[in-house]
């Protein structure tokens, strides 16, 4: 396994090891490019994961202090937990559910298709679906996505069967167990899904794709990739010419280290990535790195989400089997006659008893609450995930007061729902409830958003430097050897789960970086 010197200035340094950073690291290593990944969290293996919601949360979740503001309900329900993401090698690709959907053609050009939406900072992506299609294909092959490459879809569990039966009654047409990066048959050295449940707690069978046990060990096997766990980057440094040349981090023993770099790629998820750029402000870049547009941290998107759970007179046992292998796609279209632009998906979801108690009605108590919990075994559940509007004022900033244990300002996450988000959520609640009522639900529950798992847009792609932070390759407009490699580069959120697109962009970015390095452009 590679071990690189702190003074080696020929390296690509990637900050973060999740879907973006972990994939990019492997792709570069496969091309013979020497790469270091610095990961803030520790390295677990599959055997360490636990099928127990609270202990797993304590093991995996990023629980370092963050603050919230704005009118979104998460700020009220979970004021110091705006996001439910992972701090560990493999990042949130440990926690993700596996849903792997391509953005649709029009979702790359929403400013053009939707027109001006008051209050929204819509912008077309500087890239089209056609340009990304070859890379989507590579990502689906890499991840073993069901419903692509001749890979059969997963079998449907009880929770899916309830949703599908209701969907049929309502006349929905595009209903199946999804495009899931979870093996439905043995593939790529990993076994097939055992219907364990607990997809959010780290897959105990390894059937679900995660960079932890796919990209990262493959990259390490080349001898070109070193992954340093428990290495929290606190600052990116630059030279007099304005190119980044090193990152400063706190290592596992609490010592400050400085790693020289030829190229730096930021892949810390959409809260920490802008925080790091802002915390790296210097006399040359007083507003933070890559921030001449003022867009770093802005346009924070978290998808319009909600859940609908329903109780029936007979058992469902929704938690048995793959958590999110079930989807209704008919509402994914853009049809402004519904009262909002953009679309949403309905996907199966389930929680165990401990998390249902925490999330069914945050703050709830008394018999109206507990009678719902009493129905646990007779419940079905779905998650609504749809496009949300980018707004300049929804943003990650440095908290003026709260500091982390290294004395650095923590991220404040400000979010207000856009009227379009509210209209879409209401529509999803209504349709989701109708799906279940069509097959005899005796009670439906409208469950507000969980802490955000999809965090997007805070270093967005733009054609023009004044409109965003990075270009179509994720390369910052201001600093040519500084890249963004996570979901923060999304120009708009689209109405589908983002991980497949994050992986796709990382594969493409590796090609771009290798080309630029080969031509000595960076």
């Amino acid at each position: 396994m590679a071990k690189f010197d702190h003074n080696d200035d020929s390296l690509v340094v990637i900050i973060g090891s999740g879907a973006g950073g972990g994939t990019l690291g492997n792709e570069l290593a496969q091309k013979g490019i020497k790469t270091v990944i610095l990961e803030a969290g520790p390295r677990y293996e599959i055997a360490d994961f636990v099928n127990d919601e609270w202990p797993s949360f304590a093991q995996l979740a990023w629980t370092d202090m963050r603050t919230t503001s704005g009118t979104w309900q998460v700020a009220h329900d979970f004021p110091n937990l705006p996001a439910w993401i992972v701090k560990a090698v493999g990042g949130t690709s440990i926690h993700w559910a596996g849903a792997s959907l391509r953005l649709r053609d029009w979702e790359f050009k929403t400013r053009t298709v939707y027109g001006h939406v008051p209050g929204a900072n819509l912008l077309d992506w500087p890239i089209s679906l056609a340009e990304l299609e070859p890379y989507y294909a590579k990502a689906e092959f890499k991840m073993g996505t069901t419903g692509t490459n001749g890979i059969p879809r997963l079998p449907g569990n009880n929770n899916f069967k309830v949703m599908a039966a209701g969907a049929a009654k309502l006349g929905y047409k595009e209903v199946h167990t999804g495009n899931m990066s979870i093996n439905s048959q043995p593939r790529d050295g990993r076994g097939s899904c055992q219907q364990i449940g607990f997809c959010f707690q780290g897959c105990k069978s390894g059937a679900k794709w995660s960079t932890l046990y796919t990209e990262i060990p493959k990259g390490e096997a080349t001898g070109n990739l070193e992954v340093r766990e428990k290495s929290m980057v606190v600052r990116i440094e630059h030279n007099d010419a304005g190119k980044v040349n090193a990152v400063v981090y706190i290592d596992a023993d609490g010592n400050m280290q400085r790693q020289k770099a030829r190229v730096v790629c930021v892949a810390c998820n959409s809260l920490e990535s802008p925080r790091l750029l802002l915390n790296s402000a210097s006399s040359k870049f007083p507003d933070g790195l890559a921030n001449s547009s003022g867009q770093v941290g802005r346009n924070y998107m978290r998808h319009t989400t909600a859940s609908v759970y329903a109780a029936f007179d007979r058992p469902v046992h929704m938690y048995r089997g793959t958590t999110m292998a079930g989807i209704i796609r008919d509402e994914g279209r853009n049809d402004p006659t519904r009262g909002f632009v953009g679309g949403y998906e309905m996907e199966t979801i389930s929680l165990g008893l401990p998390f249902l108690a925490a999330f069914l009605k945050p703050g709830g108590w008394g018999r109206s609450f507990t009678s719902g919990i009493d129905d646990f075994s007779n419940m079905a559940g779905m998650w609504i995930v749809g496009e949300d509007m980018p707004q300049e004022t929804n943003r990650v900033t440095l908290d003026p007061v709260a500091k982390d244990k290294f004395g650095l300002p923590v991220a404040n996450v400000h979010f207000d729902d856009h009227p379009n988000d509210i209209a879409m959520r209401e529509h999803g609640f209504r349709q989701g409830g109708a799906v279940y009522e069509a097959v005899g639900a005796t009670r439906t529950f409208r469950v507000p958003p969980y802490p955000s798992t999809h965090n997007l847009g805070t270093n967005r792609m733009s054609e023009k430097p004044r409109d965003g932070v990075v270009n179509k390759y994720g390369q910052s407009h201001d600093i040519p050897n500084l890249f963004i490699s996570d979901g923060s580069q999304f120009t708009t959120s689209a109405g589908v789960n983002p991980t497949l697109t994050i992986v796709t962009l990382a594969i493409r970015q590796a090609d771009s970086i290798a080309g630029m390095m080969g031509r000595n452009e960076i």
């Binding site: 069967k161 049929a168 899904c193 364990i196 105990k204 058992p315 046992h317 048995r320 108590w365 075994s377």
Partner: protein, 184 residues
């Protein structure tokens, strides 16, 4: 046929006492296990709280999360976890003791009885609602959300089967065995 699980597994005293909530006081063993009347015995073993306060908190816990299928011992265990946290946290202990005192005072004002003696659940709930924005209620409610529902021995009573990987998941144990949906 759907594979259902026994909502009331035999809960032998030894197994129960080896449960996930940690070591239990020895007197609980002597008291003969899981009967409702055990609550007061448990309360005697509170380390930080006055016994009377612990008993009141068990009643408060049930009024916050009333599940008629669940015996008092599960509420008592959750309260004893709060008590254990208060052993090394005087601020928490004071918050709880003062909260119980205030609740009893409110109960005497409105119903001429301490909280435990208020017979009607709706009257007790009204007392809790009146303090539900305060630090005492928020602390007790927030702690219970985790410590009450996270008791593994509680889960089968709600039909939740818990960890499944060690049993090979549900692929051969009913992940798709629903049998009552309408034929489409």
């Amino acid at each position: 046929m759907m594979r259902l699980i026994d909502r009331l597994p035999r809960l032998g005293r030894r197994r129960f006492l080896r449960g996930s909530a940690g070591a239990l006081p020895a007197t609980a063993l002597l008291a003969g296990g899981v009967a409702v009347s055990a609550t007061r015995v448990w309360a005697e073993d509170a380390k930080a709280l006055k016994p009377g306060s612990a008993v009141t908190l068990v009643r408060v816990a049930r009024d916050i999360y009333p599940h008629d299928r669940i015996p008092d011992i599960f509420y008592a265990r959750a309260v004893l976890m709060l008590d254990a946290a208060a052993v090394s946290d005087n601020t928490l202990r004071d918050l709880l003791e003062e909260g119980v005192m205030r609740l009893d005072a409110d109960a005497r004002d409105r119903f001429q009885s301490p909280y435990l003696g208020v017979a009607s659940e709706s009257d007790r709930v009204a007392l809790l609602e009146a303090i539900s924005a305060g630090a005492f209620f928020k602390k007790v409610h927030g702690a219970l959300t985790v410590s009450f529902y996270n008791q593994h021995e509680l889960w089968p009573r709600f039909g939740y089967e818990g960890s499944s990987a060690e049993y090979g998941g549900y692929i051969h144990r009913g992940f798709d065995d629903i049998d009552w949906l309408p034929k489409s």
